[in-house]
């Protein structure tokens, strides 16, 4: 079974600065998806960014980018120019491609990000 580890329960960053959230995972599979989700106080999980394991190029979405190190099984999220609206819980998630049609996501325990004005 796959596991996802987020070793930083809490992080804080000054507004407009850059912060990196860490995520490692354990798997024996070679093809899979990785995701970062954001959960603000409204409780709704919002997809931030995704990465297909077969792609070597790191995904980027505006101010959000990832550092995907497949051999090291590491998938960190970098947030540039942090904004007050970025304050939330951030979850790293893994999706296996081993079982066709099974869309199960395995989540980490989350990192609470605080933005300091």
């Amino acid at each position: 079974a796959q596991t996802v580890t987020q070793s930083q329960p809490e992080m804080s960053v000054q507004e407009a600065e850059t912060v990196t959230l860490s995520c490692t995972y354990d798997t024996s599979e070679s093809d899979y998806y990785l995701f970062w989700y954001k959960q603000p106080p409204s409780r709704q999980m919002i997809l931030v960014i995704r990465q297909e394991a077969y792609k070597q190029q790191n995904a980027t979405e505006n101010r959000f980018s990832v550092n995907f190190q497949k051999a090291a099984k590491s998938f960190s999220l970098k947030i540039s120019d942090s904004q007050l609206g970025d304050a939330a819980m951030y979850f790293c998630a893994y999706r296996s491609l081993a079982n066709f049609g099974n869309e199960k996501l395995t989540f980490g325990t989350g990192t609470r990000l605080t933005i300091i004005p």
Binding site: F35, R43, Q44, L47, R50, F91, G101, E103, K104, F107
Partner: protein, 113 residues
């Protein structure tokens, strides 16, 4: 377009009771999944349904069951509620084809007293 809608928003039940949570996916989405999120933890996978067929089941007791209807909406049922069932229950939908990530609802907060 409406997102994923869940009802009710909050619910308080007594130990031993039964509860039914409801989810309406985004229009056109055929896959619905349920997750349990205990306070301070990440969501845990409970079930996934695609076109009324169960595609996946997490490590939850048989007290948990679900079904999907022809209009792709879904219900999650929990019998014989325990205090430990208190959690946020999240529903998520996807098209069920090329998977680019779920769209989640805002969840149902279940409190068991």
């Amino acid at each position: 377009d409406a997102g994923v809608t869940q009802s009710p928003t909050h619910l308080i039940k007594t130990r031993g009771q039964q509860v039914t949570l409801r989810c309406s996916p985004i229009s056109g989405h055929k896959s619905v999944s349920w997750y349990q999120q205990v306070l301070g933890q990440g969501p845990q996978f409970i079930f996934q349904y695609y076109e009324k067929e169960e595609r996946g089941r997490g490590n939850f007791p048989d007290r948990f069951s679900a079904r999907q209807f022809p209009n792709y909406s879904s219900e999650l049922n929990v019998n014989a509620l325990l205090l430990g069932d208190s959690a946020l229950y999240l529903c998520a939908s996807s098209p069920g084809t090329a998977f680019y990530g779920y769209t989640f609802g805002s969840g149902t907060r279940l409190t068991v007293v």
